[in-house]
Amino acid sequence: MSKSVLIVSRQAPWAGPGAREALDIALAGGAFDLPLGLLFLDDGVFQLAPAQQPAALQQKDLAANLQALPMFGVGALYASARSLQERGLQEATLGLPVEVLDDASLTALFDRYDQVITL
């Protein structure tokens, strides 16, 4: 039985490679059938903002990769309620359906996984 891994993605999408790298780990792990969870925390929740136009920055859209997660077997997607609320994002408008969790539920979430990778 593989160890379960929670990937915590906490960087905004366009200023550095962190967001894409966290997503790549999730997709690669999913392709190998690892039991994975992906949590969007802090500025990471900006990856979920709707109708972004990264072409203006000569960057590729993350949305397609995010949509691919369930196809790669990564269905356990979470976001911090506090991070969303602090940044003025509403759950209903997010670009990807995620389970929104409060701080206490996040502590329990970390507990459920064997390993954690925070980027």
Partner: protein, 99 residues
């Protein structure tokens, strides 16, 4: 399943420490290395937040990083060297490095 949280970025320019503190489990540990040891600077909100953690949570700091920055470790902190760091990673069920 207690977790050792390893922080290495300054808490004054970044939200890693505050997010970590909100998500800590009752038996987790926090290890400060690199610029994260600035959180032990007396008279700061960050230091106060660390002091307010429940006593069940271990607080550790890497010796060479506090020495290099001339930081006086508060009583609450257990100062560890690199072998101590390795021992801690073995003592906790998992390690979460806030990269």
């Amino acid at each position: 399943m207690a977790t050792l949280h390893v922080l290495s970025h300054s808490p004054f320019s970044d939200s890693r420490l505050s997010s970590c503190l909100r998500l800590l489990g009752a038996n987790d540990g926090v290890l400060l290395s690199g610029d994260a040891v600035y959180a032990l600077q007396g008279g700061t909100a960050q230091h106060q937040a660390l002091e307010l953690m429940p006593s069940s949570i271990g607080l550790f700091a890497l010796d060479e990083d506090i020495s290099a920055r001339n930081i006086e470790p508060p009583q609450r902190v257990q100062v560890v060297d690199y072998p101590g760091f390795v021992a801690l990673t073995c003592r906790f069920a998992k390690v979460n490095s806030w990269l």
